[in-house]
């Protein structure tokens, strides 16, 4: 060992110094404990300021009791691809008090959720269908606290680029609707068992409507059917005037006659071409 190392002289701790140190620590702890015990409950007496901020309460208006009908909005096949058409109609005119059913014709899961997107803090307040599986329809949605003239944005929670609108129109007079959830206006039912040849198919087989009426088509059968304009699949222009496309069992689709000239239009089922009917449009 070299001798030139600057070893500090070791200072032995003395009882006196040690006692003084312990006294300092003891006094500090005693004072601290006194403060702690005195103010123990006060230290947890204030709720955080954010919990005191009152959310503005929205006055809840009494809704007029309306006989509820149902409006169907279709989620088109391919809607999950960005840029494709998604909701049909994109801006649905819904009478006040109507329930809305979204029918998912796509191969992916979708929703219809009120709001402009997931960042919207009021998202889902008016309605939210939750997830609709491919080929299925949502539960009939009642719209919370809306009034005539309201425009409600909605979107798909899974595909936020899918957007639609609902415009609330005047309530339908009571009595015109045919009960809760039932379609209103002229209706064509595709009867159960119509896929069998020569069995009764469209009910009625010939429907007469006024130009501008909306026809509700309900598939009551257990297989897929269509109502497609034309005399049959061999006609060159079939489906040009109106076409429900493929309707799954229990689906309903609306045909708008506003663009049809007053005339008589034959229609058929693309799947079962022996199923035929006629639509007569009058002034």
């Amino acid at each position: 060992m070299e001798d030139h190392d600057h070893k500090d002289p070791i200072i032995l701790t003395s009882p006196g110094r040690m006692t003084r140190g312990l006294v300092i620590i003891g006094i500090t702890l005693a004072v601290g404990a006194g403060i702690l015990i005195t103010f123990f409950d006060e230290m947890v007496s204030n709720p955080p300021p954010v919990s005191l901020i009152k959310q503005p309460q929205q006055p809840v208006e009494e809704e007029p009791p309306v006989q509820a009908g149902t409006t169907t909005i279709t989620i088109l096949a391919g809607a999950s691809v960005q840029g494709n058409n998604d909701y049909e109609p994109d801006n649905a005119q819904v009478p006040l008090g109507n329930k809305i059913v979204w029918k998912n014709d796509d191969t992916a899961i979708h929703t219809a959720t009120s709001g402009t997107g997931a960042e919207d803090t009021t998202s889902g307040d008016v309605f939210d269908t939750n997830l609709i599986n491919p080929g299925e329809s949502s539960d009939p949605m009642e719209l919370a606290s809306v009034k005539e003239g309201d425009i409600i944005d909605y979107y798909c929670f899974v595909h936020p680029y899918m957007n639609g609108k609902i415009t609330i129109t005047a309530a339908q007079p009571a009595g015109e609707g045919s009960g809760s959830g039932a379609p209103t206006g002229p209706t064509i039912n595709i009867l159960a068992g119509s896929s069998t040849q020569n069995a009764p198919d469209y009910d009625p087989d010939t429907l007469t409507v006024k130009k501008g009426d909306k026809i509700t088509v309900v598939n009551q059968d257990s297989t897929i059917h269509t109502i497609t304009s034309g005399t049959g699949p061999e006609a060159a222009d079939f489906g040009k005037l109106f076409d429900t496309k493929f309707m799954n069992p229990d689906d309903s689709v609306t045909i708008d006659t506003a663009n049809l000239e007053p005339s008589s239009y034959p229609f058929f089922c693309m799947v079962h071409s022996y199923m035929k009917g006629t639509l007569v449009v009058e002034e």
Partner: protein, 498 residues
């Protein structure tokens, strides 16, 4: 006495750090004894009057033990030894050093006088929209101050080690404790700022002027957990690496053999520091992460196993064939390694994410991390405290009482924390005031509580031994106080350059 309080000399400040941390260890331990005594039987035992007080007590226990015992003790020993080990007259910036220390007592006062109730995670949304103030605010500012103190201390260590070390001392010949402190300090600089930001966000969220973590304002509570664990998973290694460095100082001395592989020790420190940042989300497996994320963090966590195993292998190989002398420091360190092995084995179970769903937020986790912070880290710290005791005081503690405290701590800690693993598998949730009164839970909680009382006895023996030794102990033979036939502190051959 006042000359110590107002000193800027590194040994004085190191001593202040050590004393403060031991005080925190003792009163934090008293809280733990209270918690365990309350849980001796199901239902309200009246030791702790109500669940809210229980929450405040375990929150303060956790915050105190991590930030006022582990961190300051490591800083204290670093302050005491680093300038000696790198052969410089003091820390690089003595006044900054004093400032860093004196930020701790006010922070300690804020944490202790408030006693917040939102656990040491302060997880939103509870911490932002419900946790009562001013305790919560005091906790937030207390931790803010502690974070700044850590950063100032780290800068000081890094500069001292890299710039002030003796020109004749290459970094690769510096003691491994120097490496441990260097790596820890760099990790603190990288990790702490994230949590510092999260604390400010937490505070403004509580005021209602921001909504970072408040779902009602469009915020995301999970974001806080990411920020928090990005700091506090590396923090686990920040706690551990100084302890590992201390083990490296003690084992070769008491095995009377040179260290098995110096280079692999350095490599394992650096490796731990790097992989420590790749595993934070393993605390969050059950928050709904995707399978890919969970897999990445599971692998990142397992990457820490080889680095830890390198240390353990290194220690074992150093002891192998050595003439080991089981004095108090060596016993503590050896016991710590045993408990560290259990902690590591439990950690591998936790990081296997399907198993983590079973153990998450149960007493398994409590047992696991306590084996780590109590087993490895605290055992190494107490062992090193005994090792350094003659150097600091010039006196010897009582060896028999030292060994008695070791055995009490070793048996107590094993009983408490190994039992708690099983409690967790039985499904007892952590942080609860009460538990289901069924026989297995009652019996194991009682075993665990008895272990806590054994630990309390160990702490009483430890502290009385240290105080008595410092006051009236026999003057130590400074060349070889432990009679191991080796040069005791070879780095006491100081040649300070000025």
């Amino acid at each position: 006495m006042w000359e110590i309080l107002f000193s800027t000399h590194h040994t004085d400040i190191g001593l202040l750090y050590v004393i403060l941390s031991i005080v925190a260890f003792m009163i934090g331990g008293a809280l733990a004894i209270g918690i365990r005594t309350e849980l001796f039987l199901p239902g309200n035992q009246g030791i702790i009057p109500d669940p809210e007080t229980f929450h405040r007590i375990f929150t303060t226990h956790g915050t105190n033990m991590l930030f006022l015992w582990l961190l300051p003790f490591a800083s204290g020993i670093g302050n005491y030894l680093i300038p000696i080990m790198v052969r410089y007259k003091d820390m690089a910036w003595p006044k900054l050093n004093a400032v860093a220390f004196w930020m701790i007592p006010p922070a300690m006062a804020l944490v202790w006088l408030g006693m917040a109730d939102f656990t040491w995670y302060a997880t939103p949304p509870y911490s932002t929209i419900r946790a009562p103030g001013p305790a919560a605010e005091m906790w937030i500012f207390g931790l803010k101050i502690l974070g700044i103190s850590s950063i100032l201390g780290s800068i000081n260590f890094i500069v001292t080690i890299l710039k002030m070390k003796h020109p004749d001392l290459p970094l690769m010949r510096a003691p491994l404790f120097v490496w441990a402190t260097l790596v820890t300090s760099i990790m603190i600089l990288v990790a702490i700022p994230t949590f510092a930001a999260a604390l400010i966000m937490l505070y403004t969220d509580r005021l209602g002027i921001s909504g970072f973590f408040n779902p009602a304002m469009g915020g995301d509570p999970i974001a806080y957990q990411h920020l928090f664990w990005f700091t506090f998973h590396p923090e686990v290694y920040i706690f551990a690496i100084p302890a590992i460095g201390m083990v490296y100082e003690i084992i070769p001395k008491f095995s009377r053999k040179p260290i098995f592989s110096y280079q692999s020790g350095v490599a394992a420190f650096v490796l731990l520091a790097i992989v420590g940042f790749a595993s934070w989300a393993h605390h969050m497996f059950s928050t709904g992460m995707s399978f890919t994320e969970k897999t990445v963090f599971m692998v990142g966590t397992l990457a820490a196993v080889p680095a830890s195993a390198m240390h353990v292998f290194n220690w074992t190989a150093t002891m192998w064939g050595g003439r080991i002398r089981f004095r108090t420091p060596m016993s503590y360190v050896f016991g710590g390694i045993v408990l560290f092995f259990y902690a590591g084995a439990g950690g591998v179970v936790n990081t296997a994410m399907p198993l983590d769903f079973l153990t998450h937020d149960t007493y398994w986790v409590v047992g696991h991390f306590h084996l780590f912070v109590m087993g490895l880290i605290t055992f190494a710290f107490i062992g090193f405290l005994h090792y350094l005791f003659p150097f600091i005081t010039g006196r010897m503690y009582n060896e028999r009482l030292g060994m008695l405290s070791f055995w009490l701590f070793f048996v107590g800690s094993s009983v408490i924390f190994l039992t708690q693993h099983v409690l967790g598998l039985y499904g007892q949730p952590r942080r609860t005031f009460d538990f289901v009164p069924v026989e297995p839970l009652i019996i194991m909680n009682q075993i665990s509580s008895v272990g806590a009382w054994i630990n309390a006895a160990g702490a009483a023996v430890l502290i009385s031994n240290l105080i008595h030794g410092a006051m009236k102990g026999k003057p130590a033979k400074m060349d070889d106080p432990f009679e191991i036939g080796e040069q005791y502190y070879d780095y006491t051959k100081r040649e300070p350059h000025h």
